[in-house]
Symmetry: C2
Subunit: 158 residues, 2 copies
Amino acid sequence: MNEGVEWALHSCLNLAWIGPGRAVTAARLAAYHELPAAYLNKQLQALVRAGILISASGPKGGFRLARDLDRITLMDVVTALEGPEEAFRCTEIRQRGPGAGPTGGRAPECAIAGAMGRADLAWRRELAAQTLDAVRERAERQAPDAPDRIRRWFADVT
Amino acid sequence: MNEGVEWALHSCLNLAWIGPGRAVTAARLAAYHELPAAYLNKQLQALVRAGILISASGPKGGFRLARDLDRITLMDVVTALEGPEEAFRCTEIRQRGPGAGPTGGRAPECAIAGAMGRADLAWRRELAAQTLDAVRERAERQAPDAPDRIRRWFADVT
DNA sequence: GCTCTCGTACTCGGATATTCTGTGTCCGAGTGTTCGAGG
DNA sequence: CCTCGAACACTCGGACACAGAATATCCGAGTACGAGAGC
């Protein structure tokens, strides 16, 4: 899986902790975790295209959340960065070669693809069930001082 | 996901339909689906290392199943080819940069990694619940003539 | 005729190229601010 | 003093290199079979 997923999730949580109104630049978000700024910018662009973030150019510009965390699921972020297609792609090799069989392409369904698809569905179901707000809540329970520390660091204009 | 997973699953089912005793060469298995023989051989080698297949060199050599299909799960095959590590890898970026916090590396658990890990667990649980024998049964229900056709083609020594 | 031995053909196994997606970087388009001139 | 305008600085956005892994291929190690010579 793309490494940018981790970056995007952390950045979304940071944006929420900073405050809903403030727009933060990609460079600043990247500096907080020592990430390559231009590349993080690329990932955030994908979130903008997916409607998760809103971007603004120019001075005082940057990124901010398009909606509250409780309306953003892990599935949304993963789909925005990885695309909608599932991990296992059935290339229908059973239809090629001597084993093609007499079916003229109207094969009902590949049993293997079906089984893999069920597993993929379980994965997506679990991702869709988890909102970023629930993740934030867990994170705050583990590190209650994190939100304030983040808010203070990002308020620092240095 | 690696494309070889699909090839390996189909090959395992073909091996089961051919019969438990017969050893089939990688070239023959590849020809049945018009796959690159040497590359399929590489994938089957991984299954041998995982204990799913047994290989034999020389004339009359080839691959055969190490155990019955009902004792092989989709999880076994995927792990053999993709490795045991999960798709989402947490690189602990929260521990880097100004946001590192005072914890000396003994952070309890990344909430994001935990949430992604739960989804990955659901995926693996579903894969582990499906045996290749169940997949075979579904496949036979959809194409009852497939086993006999496969057996006959592979029996052809041409 | 039977047995032992050597050669051969065939297979897996790992080392070796090639392509493709992910990773990282750079410069141009767009925008809000700010400084200055004019009324 | 207030208003208007233009230049500027800053940000996103997409186009442009680089790297690592997936994909594909090739040659060597090992083995079972079979032919041939010897007993």
